[in-house]
């Protein structure tokens, strides 16, 4: 009966009811959306950045280096000499060093020239086929395989540059030899191949003659979207020769011929002490720069965080004003219906019932607002997620539940409940006799 009456009162002023629910819902939706977005972004960044302790690449913006070589979104800062990078690989504090050579893409997915250790960084398992072994063999991430229906045996043609529509390398098709199992990391969206393939494609293509002349690494063609491919200088096939110890296997074969380049080196420390030493060493005594993915992604989140925080405040203020307006509405409604409440008392209703009636009204607004808000917030995140997935970038899961949301919902309920409690207590304390005796 209490609920039915509460609904009847709400239905008797539909416009106000709808406005209150909408105000609450928009606040909740905005906060839920922001929570979803930031928590997933943070998680995502952390997961992609975690396996790599340090990135060594060409000088330039450290954030750009991280974005290009770890998150695979921005363009690289330039290239570094293979020989120079090897010095880092051999350092006793380095547990592993994975080369990354960027330059080409396959339908928007980056083709990463690397070695077998790359798979280990992200704990990626080959779901079908086998890991790459030879030049021009590729292993594709699960997302790439799903979107383009790739299976072992398929031939794909890379296009020059990291953009979706670079000129093709038609005469140099890659052969898909393996498909990776999903990892929930950036590797799902990459095409992996031995670093020699990247060198081979560009040498064969003859599109980088300038790079045949050794020049100061890290100073060339920075930020040049279409010209950022690493290249090797002289055309060099596999050449026999002594292999320096500690050198990544994929680089060995091609290392003899001249000046070879890679985009960056992903370093894992052998000891935590390395964090204090290696970056300084690289930055001061080489022409390369070292950047920490953890530090740079925290910096990135900080920069994004300022905007997010502003929006969060905005949404919080919106919700507070919604709560306030519900409070005002309930209080004034109480004034309007004090005769109704007194009447219920004359029929035998206990004060507690009047309080719960008033509370039921407020809580109905609250619950509808929160439910609608969550639906809107998650719906918006889902829609954005679909759109993002289409453009091949970050997946945003709208149907997930961000950890902060539980707190959000609890806080909104606690605040809203406290707000509704005031008129409820007023209803509880209202004296029917004084209403009946005095007119």
């Amino acid at each position: 009966m209490t609920l039915r009456l509460a609904f009847a009162y709400l239905a008797s002023r539909p416009l106000a009811t709808i406005l209150h629910v909408l105000m609450l819902a928009l606040g909740v939706a905005t906060l839920a959306f922001l929570l979803l977005f930031t928590s997933q972004a943070e998680e995502r960044l952390a997961r992609d950045a975690k396996p790599v302790d340090l990135v060594v690449g060409a000088k330039g913006s450290p954030l750009q280096l991280i974005l290009s070589s770890v998150f695979h979104v921005d363009i690289p800062t330039g290239n570094i000499g293979l020989e120079e990078s090897k010095a880092i690989s051999r350092h006793p504090m380095v547990a592993s060093a994975t080369p990354v050579a960027l330059g080409d893409s396959y339908r928007g997915h980056r083709i990463v020239g690397t070695d077998a250790s790359f798979l280990g960084l992200y704990d990626a398992k080959v779901a079908a086929g086998r890991p790459f072994k030879e030049e021009m063999e590729v292993v594709v991430g699960s997302e790439v395989a799903r979107r383009h229906q790739l299976a072992p045996g398929a031939k794909i043609v890379g296009s020059h540059g990291l953009a979706q529509t670079g000129p093709g390398h038609d005469e140099d098709p890659f052969e898909v030899v393996g498909v990776l199992a999903p990892t929930g990391t950036v590797i799902d969206r990459l095409v992996l191949t031995p670093v020699e393939s990247v060198w081979h494609v560009h040498e064969h293509h003859g599109d980088a003659p300038a790079k045949t002349v050794p020049e100061a690494p890290g100073k060339k063609h920075k930020h040049d979207h279409d010209d950022d491919e690493p290249a090797k200088a002289p055309p060099a096939g596999p050449a026999p020769g002594a292999v320096p110890p500690g050198m990544p296997p994929a680089l060995m074969a091609a290392s003899q011929g001249g000046r070879l380049e890679i985009t960056a080196l992903l370093v894992k420390y052998r000891t935590p002490l390395a964090a204090a030493m290696l970056p300084r060493l690289v930055n001061s005594s080489t022409s390369m720069q070292a950047a920490s993915p953890a530090y740079e992604s925290a910096r990135l989140l900080d920069m994004v965080g300022v905007g997010v925080q502003t929006l969060q405040w905005f949404a919080a203020i919106m919700m507070a004003s919604a709560a306030l307006s519900v409070f005002v509405a309930l209080t004034s409604a109480l004034q309007e219906r004090r005769y109704d409440l007194a009447l219920l008392r004359t029929l035998g209703a206990r004060p507690l019932r009047l309080a719960s009636l008033t509370l039921a009204e407020g809580v109905t607004l609250l619950v509808s607002g929160v439910i609608l808000g969550l639906a809107l917030g998650h719906g918006a995140a889902h829609a954005l997620g679909l759109w993002l997935a289409q453009s091949g970038s970050w997946p945003l899961a709208g149907l997930a539940w961000a950890p902060g949301e539980t707190i959000l919902v609890a806080a909104v309920f606690a605040g809203g409940f406290a707000t509704c409690l005031v008129p409820a207590v007023q209803a509880y304390l209202s004296d029917p006799a004084s209403l009946l005796a005095k007119r």
């Binding site: 008392r345 029929l347 035998g348 009946l436």
Partner: protein, 252 residues
């Protein structure tokens, strides 16, 4: 200023106010445990002793002794401000008098916990009021159902239809209460007061908002319904139009 026109016989002294009303169930057939049934049945429906009510030190009502027998219809008369509403509120247990005792159907309404007063009111008393009519946002039927629910009774649509038919407003059952005319609303208020067959009906100015024709009809209906259910009726008014319809009167 009061007249004690019909001598009521109160129950024997000494048992007054000993009932622990708070623990009693709100059930129309619950009997006071401390009164033998024979004594309780003979007790007046309403029994007032030494009643005085003050607002901020000002005495607005004083009724030394007044009884209303079962089935009687009685009138409380007095000018505005003489304390008629205050008296009815005290009888209904909506206000606690400063002094004195009130018994309804042999059960104490004074000196008991508020919850017991609410329960006693819900099960024993039907109220008709001048301005405090209906809950406007729900239908007429819903208004009567609320009265049934609050009295602790199961919903009984047959009874609702019967009462509405008796009052000639069967067609209004589905109407929203706020859309009714004053006369219709007053009939619904009467219907609501009698729907649970309470033994005592209190009516505060039930006719003063009505024109002559409606006044006449509403009063007739109220008396009819009280008689039909065997209820005792106490009407408070300053409306002289209806004064002659009651043999028993209390002048304040």
């Amino acid at each position: 200023m009061w007249r004690h026109e019909s001598p009521g016989e109160g129950p024997a002294g000494g048992i007054d106010g000993k009932t622990n009303g708070a623990g009693r169930r709100q059930d129309a057939v619950t009997h006071s445990p401390d009164l033998p049934e024979a004594v309780r049945d003979q007790a007046p429906m309403l029994e007032i002793r030494g009643l005085r009510h003050q607002y901020e030190g000002r005495t607005v009502l004083s009724v030394p002794s007044w009884d209303v027998l079962r089935g009687e219809a009685s009138l409380v008369l007095g000018p505005s401000g003489s304390g008629k509403s205050t008296l009815l509120n005290a009888i209904a247990g909506l206000a606690t008098p400063t002094e004195g005792t009130i018994r309804v159907a042999g059960e104490a309404m004074t000196g008991i916990a508020p919850a017991a007063r609410d329960a006693l009111r819900a099960s024993r008393i039907g109220l008709v009021l001048q301005t405090l009519h209906l809950i406007g946002v729900v239908t007429v039927r819903e208004n009567l159902r609320i009265a049934q629910r609050l009295a602790g009774l199961p919903p009984d649509d047959a009874r609702i239809d019967e009462v509405l038919a008796n009052l000639g407003i069967a067609n209004l059952a589905g109407a929203k209460a706020r859309q009714l005319s004053v006369g219709e609303a007053q009939r619904v208020a009467i219907a609501r007061a009698v729907v649970n067959r309470p033994p005592l009906i209190l009516a505060d100015e039930p006719t003063s908002a009505l024109d002559d024709a409606n006044c006449e009809k509403a009063l007739a209906l109220l008396l009819d319904q009280a008689q039909a259910t065997g209820a005792t009726l106490v009407v408070a008014t300053h409306d002289n139009r209806i004064r002659e319809r009651f043999a028993k009167r209390l002048e304040l």
